[in-house]
């Protein structure tokens, strides 16, 4: 076959591509079709126990582990009148600065109570820095069925040990034998 002119040969690539499967993912129109990988490092979440109490104990290990100094935590004492988490201590202030966070996940590894995990949410863009600082109420997991908004007491008859051993399954439901 005679050599086609250079210009036509160039356009051949374009022409042939028109009949190939499209690999471009349309964002945001088709983003629902393309979920992230299940273990994608997205926005953090502060989890709750089954009765709605917060898992965070305000220990600051996440802040300690953070290589980007993106996390600020201040602990405080639970009282009998105002209880946010099982045990003595809860996180009174919890902030993650997403202008600093590098989504490395070291904070998740550091968390001793699995209070901090990462969701797959990645749409965090803002037009100002202040909005990139997520406060505790922005990070807390939603209340699921059976959960009650803290502050409230621990499930009657339980101790924090029962929570840590995952024996508390709901606002009144306790599995197995409870530690006295």
């Amino acid at each position: 076959m005679a050599e086609l002119p250079q210009a036509v040969r160039g356009f051949w690539v374009t022409f042939a591509t028109m009949f190939k499967k499209v690999v471009t993912e349309q964002y945001p129109e088709d983003s629902h079709k393309y979920p992230t990988q299940p273990r994608f490092h997205g926005r953090h979440q502060l989890n709750r126990w089954a009765d709605g109490l917060e898992k965070c104990v305000g220990c600051e290990l996440c802040a300690w582990a953070c290589p980007a100094d993106a996390i600020l935590v201040e602990g405080a004492s639970n009282t009998d009148e105002e209880r946010f988490s099982p045990g003595e201590r809860y996180g009174r202030v919890y902030q993650i600065n997403y202008a600093r966070c590098i989504f490395c996940g070291l904070c998740i590894e550091a968390c001793p109570t699995r209070a901090l995990t990462m969701t797959n949410a990645f749409e965090l863009a803002e037009d100002n820095r202040a909005s990139l600082i997520y406060e505790k109420q922005d990070l807390l997991a939603p209340l699921l069925a059976g959960m009650q908004l803290p502050p409230h007491d621990m499930v009657p008859g339980t101790t924090e040990q029962d929570y840590y051993a995952n024996r508390v399954k709901g606002p009144a439901a306790v599995e197995g034998e409870v530690q006295s």
Partner: protein
């Protein structure tokens, strides 16, 4: 003063540690000898200032010739001993790791919620000297937690490794053995007697030396982690002991203060007031200058407020009185001293916000102001005999108390109350009715006089000698006649510095007499003013100043941080402030004075400025600025602004410039005022004599906002002798009535002279000046019961 420095040859012994041969002083512990060659042996119970106990067993080492590993913290090295630590001995390493494993068996996994986490010797040494894996599979022993051993100190018994540091501190150092190791075996725990909390003035030290998180303080609980904190070495502003502190802050707020090492002064300890009373720093500040307009204080700009203050003070000039309070740094007190003399031309200045007397004023001019360091803490430790006059060390200068107790010095206190502190020092009481100390000093028993004649004997005179006619004269005479060294121990941190800075009528900086031509010339030269511009005659001080102001003798007052309730006649002080035509108050918090002032200028707190406190020894205790970006100005800087608005500069007003001026001036070398010669006065009136002083923890303004600390204060009570209590019929409460009023307090029986009643000077329940209108030594009426 005699120096006890004999060149003593310390015998040494040869020892080999990990193959390194070294000579150490005889009696050295193996753990210290190992430190000398840079080998760190793990330890929990070992503390250089406490007696060895070998309780935790973490420091086991192999000693050649001994069948089993020995604890390095209790093993004194002997001549020719061969020691192998974990560095060179498998036996020692295995022993240490085994002990660590045992210690961790019952230690809870509390690290995330434990205040010690991040600065915990157990965490650190579990990493450095532990095995990493636990073989323990059972249930850990648990206790209820935390429990309060006092309102301030919380105990998590599960975390305790039974090292006995806290109990040894309480017993050996503080003399408050209110905590003890109870039970045995796995149930061993620190505890208190059921009805007696750990209300020691020094309890906070146990939190600091606890090598695990078993003891924590309510004030610092869950406040922060070590990596959050910025630490600044500072000096305590609460009393004249002059403790080194470490101030930790987080995000612009002080979170805690720790005792810091200063072997010459506080060693490694401090008192609970210095440790916990800092909440006042954050609360209730005056934020802007205030100017009175139409009878109301309104916020004003700095230039306006300075201008108003300058015009008012310039108009009053030499008819101004200056009260600086006892809490200023030396630099700020110097600012007031200079401002009064060089800018206003007045000498009516006094730094003492407490009971004073003209006799005391003369005593301070003659014997204390500008004097070089004489008696030191070390001298107290070495003294064969210490006589206390008008001074209760545990309440009024706790570190002096710790030193006297440590030294087991023979102590005699001239007073009316054999206090708990005196008892703990093993001291004796030389009976003297309150206000009658001078007579007791005049008729001193021969054995005490002989004891004072020993080389190195010391007389410690507290600030309460001012309340006792003839006492300042008597201590001066006694010191001169026996050769004993005399030291004056004020209560407030700023008093000695203010005295040396010249913030007292008749005194220029460095103890210079105002009326001495050479002294005047030296000071005028440094200030760059004409000698004639300095006031010619000593001005008013103490009660005279307030009396004069209250009778329109003085037309303006310049007041810094004085709370009228501290003064023996609060009503007179308020009348003086009300009567004075113009009042300028420099303060960081509102008080009865700022509410009545014409101009209020906010000034920096100790955390916002650098400066120097002189402790009672006269030793400078400089400190740096904690909050470097604070916008507030120190008193001296503000005074400099007023001075330049008036049109006088008079040298430097910044802290460094003032330090240079103070250094250039130096202490006065010339003739000093003569010591006063006031004769003792016989007691007047019948009834109970009032004995009183400021307890360490009371209703002082610097202790505001710290409820846990306040709860550890001694309960307010009227204390009388057993005989007097029986005479009153041993009621539960008594009513003490003074000239101006009465208070009802619980009755307590104590080692008090008959016909004497002790009432705390300024507790939350009663203030003798405000509520009774009585002074120390006043005859008061004590009756059973009362409207409680």
């Amino acid at each position: 003063m005699t120096e006890n420095t004999t060149t003593e040859i310390v015998p040494t012994v040869s020892v080999t540690i990990d193959g390194v041969a070294l000579q150490v002083p005889k009696g050295t512990l193996a753990i210290r000898a190992a430190e000398m060659i840079g080998v760190e042996i793990p330890r929990f119970c070992d503390h250089p200032l406490l007696e060895p106990v070998a309780a935790c067993r973490a420091c086991l080492i192999e000693v050649e010739g001994m069948p089993k590993p020995q604890p390095a913290c209790a093993q004194v090295v002997g001549e020719g001993m061969t020691i192998r630590t974990q560095q060179s001995s498998e036996v020692a390493k295995d022993a240490q790791e085994g002990v660590m494993e045992f210690l961790l068996i019952n230690h809870p996994l509390d690290c995330p919620v434990c205040d010690k986490g991040g600065e915990c010797p157990l965490q650190n040494q579990a990493m450095s000297a532990g095995r990493g894996e636990s073989r323990f599979e059972g249930e850990k022993r648990t206790f209820d937690k935390p429990i309060n051993v006092s309102a301030q100190i919380l105990l998590d018994r599960e975390r305790c490794v039974s090292c006995a540091r806290c109990t040894r501190f309480a017993d050996q150092i503080a003399g408050d053995p209110m905590i003890e190791l109870l039970e045995r075996g796995a149930q061993q725990q620190v505890g208190t007697a059921s009805d007696e909390p750990f209300d020691s003035y020094f309890s906070g030290n146990t939190v600091q030396i606890c090598p695990v998180g078993a003891l924590t303080s309510a004030a610092y609980r869950f406040r922060s982690r070590p990596f959050d904190l910025v630490s600044v070495p500072t000096t305590c502003e609460h009393c004249a002991s002059g403790c080194s502190l470490r101030t930790d802050y987080r995000r612009g707020v002080v979170t805690r203060r720790l005792a810091w090492d200063s072997p010459e002064v506080n060693e490694e300890w401090n008192c609970d007031k210095g440790r916990f009373a800092f909440a006042y720093l954050a609360e209730g500040r005056i934020t802007t200058p205030l100017v009175r307009e139409d009878g109301e204080l309104r916020p004003a700009s700095w230039p306006e407020a300075i201008d108003v203050a300058a015009r008012g003070l310039a108009a009053a000039g030499s008819r101004t009185g200056v009260l600086t309070g006892g809490r200023l740094t030396q630099e700020d007190a110097y600012g007031y001293a200079k401002f009064a003399r060089a800018v206003l031309g007045t000498d009516s200045i006094d730094f003492r916000a407490r009971a004073t007397s003209p006799e005391e004023t003369q005593f301070l001019r003659a014997a204390v102001a500008g004097a070089p360091i004489g008696v030191t803490y070390t001298a107290l430790e070495q003294a064969p005999f210490v006589l206390l006059v008008g001074f209760e060390p545990e309440d009024e200068s706790p570190i002096v108390f710790l030193r006297l107790r440590k030294a087991r010095t023979r102590v005699v206190s001239v007073g009316a109350v054999a206090t708990r502190g005196l008892d703990k020092m093993g001291g004796e009481l030389l009976a003297a009715l309150p206000g009658q100390e001078a007579a007791a000093l005049r008729d001193l028993p021969a054995d005490i006089r002989a004891a004072l004649e020993q080389p190195g004997a010391v007389i410690l005179a507290g600030e309460r000698i001012a309340a006792s006619a003839g006492a300042p004269s008597a201590v001066s005479t006694l010191a001169a006649s026996t050769g004993a060294a005399l030291a004056w121990v004020p209560r407030r941190a700023g008093e000695r510095g203010a005295l040396d800075a010249g913030a007292l009528a008749g005194l220029l900086p460095g103890g210079r007499p105002l009326i001495d031509a050479q002294a005047r010339a030296q000071v005028a030269a440094i200030w760059g003013i004409d000698t004639a511009a300095l006031p010619g005659l000593p001005g008013l001080s103490g009660d005279d100043l307030l009396t004069s102001a209250s009778r329109v003798g003085l037309s303006a007052l310049l007041v810094a941080g004085v709370d009228p309730v501290d003064l023996p006649d609060p009503a007179l002080a308020l009348r003086a402030v009300d009567t004075a035509a113009f009042v300028v108050a420099l303060d960081h918090h509102h008080s009865a004075v700022t509410e009545r002032a014409d101009v209020v200028l906010p000034v920096a707190l100790v955390t916002e400025k650098s400066g120097t406190f002189l402790d009672w020894e006269g030793r400078p205790r400089p400190f740096g600025q904690v909050f470097k970006d604070a916008l507030t100005m120190s008193d001296a800087t503000v005074l400099g602004m007023i001075a330049s608005a008036i049109g006088t500069s008079a040298g430097a007003w910044d802290v460094n410039g003032i330090r240079r001026e103070l250094t250039a001036l130096g202490p006065w070398q010339g003739a000093r005022a003569v010591v006063p010669g006031v004769q003792p006065q016989a007691a007047a009136g019948a009834g109970f004599r009032l004995a009183s002083w400021r307890e360490l923890l009371d209703a002082g303004v610097l202790q505001e906002g710290e409820p846990f600390l306040a709860a550890t204060a001694r309960p307010s009570a009227a204390i009388v002798s057993a005989a007097a209590a029986a005479r009153l019929g041993s009621p539960a409460t008594v009513t003490v009535t003074g000239p101006a009023g009465s208070v009802t307090l619980p009755l307590e029986v104590g080692a008090v002279l008959d016909d004497v009643v002790f009432v705390p000077m300024h507790s939350s329940e009663c203030s003798i000046y405000r509520d009774l209108g009585a002074r120390i030594g006043t005859a008061v009426d004590v009756t059973a019961g009362g409207a409680a």
